[in-house]
Symmetry: C2
DNA sequence: ATTGCAGTAAGTGTGTACACTTTTTCTTCG
DNA sequence: CGAAGAAAAAGTGTACACACTTACTGCAAT
């Protein structure tokens, strides 16, 4: 038996599934996200068991967990099938995320930031300023900005101090193509504009203007959705 | 073996767990909500198995499903424990619901209502008008209004045509004390005001004013939260 | 008395057998 | 040749046994 007990326990707190089941869950998730299994396809438990070299028990646990995250659908006596994510659903997910992250920004403004949170956010702002100051992107810069962007949003979410909110936003991120780590528009000007939003959000929070923080954050995420729609309708496909 | 194969398959679509597991899930959920098991308590699988007279397998499935809904926490090799819901979390849940239902109202306004949805909502509005017209509540009237209120919100949610949104709102409802079926303020005037909100939301939707529908709905749910807070801080407890 | 360390009990994690349901395939009749 | 139905195959649902981990208890040493 493969002794791969090295598992990311880092995974978002409350999620179920013990040792083996957890790693199986991640593997199946990647099957779904990288298109190894197609949308609408049935997840055959015995086949998965054999291909992952575990029994059906952890496979079932993983499938149930993924259904809880909304990646799979369940029908009694018929098992799990890969949920479809048509464009409309993906776009809606951005809208939901906009509402929820707006709320998170408001909570953060109401509740205040810890020292380390403030430090992390300020670091991300400075790093972004620096990256953008050259006026042009070098190779790999976008990857770096992806990290900066993720730090900003994750930290703000933590500062909201609400688990349910975190989990819901996490679910939005798991919708294919909908992660905040995906920088949709690659133009320098667009990234600059979004980074400026970050500054404004932080200002609003530090000025204890929950209302304004919420509004700016909503618009911020919403504008990413708009960019996505534009880039998809523009290039055909 | 007890042959209770009569199970509500009506339960919200994508949720996992086959025949027996589903009924077990409902039973465990009620244990949690009615306080049979206390917050922070561990959910012993073998004990539950015996007390519910099924094997551990469906119990585990049910527990995982409930963890997916956020009612339970999971820790590897340590099982499931009942999540705590301090007042702050409950209040926050209303705020989250306000955001999400606001979004649902906007979607409904953008996407339009089907004939049957329009009929259901109009019926709920008329029924509410009638109930309120007497100026005073008789015994059982509040129970009736609970149904009317539920119909209104459920129908609007369906009209939003977004599953992820529905599921998230459903999760909010499962937070103890946070259901839209709980009429928090029992004063005639409060109910009248909320019912008037329903009218305005419907007007906004029919007038294709997504923006206004969202704003009114947000305020509508938020005001319930405010009433809850007031009623809890007022009566001590 | 307190701390540390077995040894043991309790509890979760996984594998597997079998029951039941669904789906497919093959046969038979129109 | 097509459709309906029955048998078979495939697949999910549940129970249970055993492995492994965690929690507890009691004893010994300081």
């Amino acid at each position: 038996m493969t002794d791969l007990t090295a598992i990311k326990t880092t995974e978002a707190a409350s999620v179920r599934a013990g040792n083996r089941a957890l790693s199986v869950m991640e593997r199946i998730r990647s099957f779904i996200l990288d298109g190894t299994v197609h949308a609408g396809e049935r997840m055959n438990e015995v086949r998965l068991s054999k291909s992952l070299d575990v029994s059906r028990t952890p496979v079932r646990a993983a499938l149930q967990a993924l259904a809880g995250e909304g990646l799979l659908d369940y029908a009694p006596n018929r098992g799990f099938i890969v949920r479809e994510f048509p464009l409309g659903v993906i776009v809606d997910a951005y809208e939901i995320r906009a509402s929820l992250e707006g709320l998170a920004a408001r909570f953060a403004a109401e509740r205040g930031l810890s020292d380390s949170e403030r430090a992390t956010i300020e670091k991300s702002l400075v790093a972004g300023d620096e990256l953008l100051s050259r006026g042009e992107f070098a190779e790999g810069d976008l990857l770096i900005y992806r990290g900066i962007n993720g730090d900003f949003h994750d930290t703000l979410l933590a500062a909201a101090r609400n688990r349910m909110l975190s989990e819901m936003i996490r679910i939005c991120h798991h919708v294919p193509m909908s992660s905040s780590r995906n920088i949709v528009a690659f133009e320098h000007r667009d990234v600059r504009r979004r980074h400026d939003d970050h500054h404004r959000i932080y200002e609003a929070i530090m000025a204890s203007e929950p209302w304004r923080a919420e509004a700016v954050m909503r618009e911020h995420v919403s504008s990413v959705r708009a960019s996505l729609v534009k880039s998809l309708t523009h290039r055909g496909q």
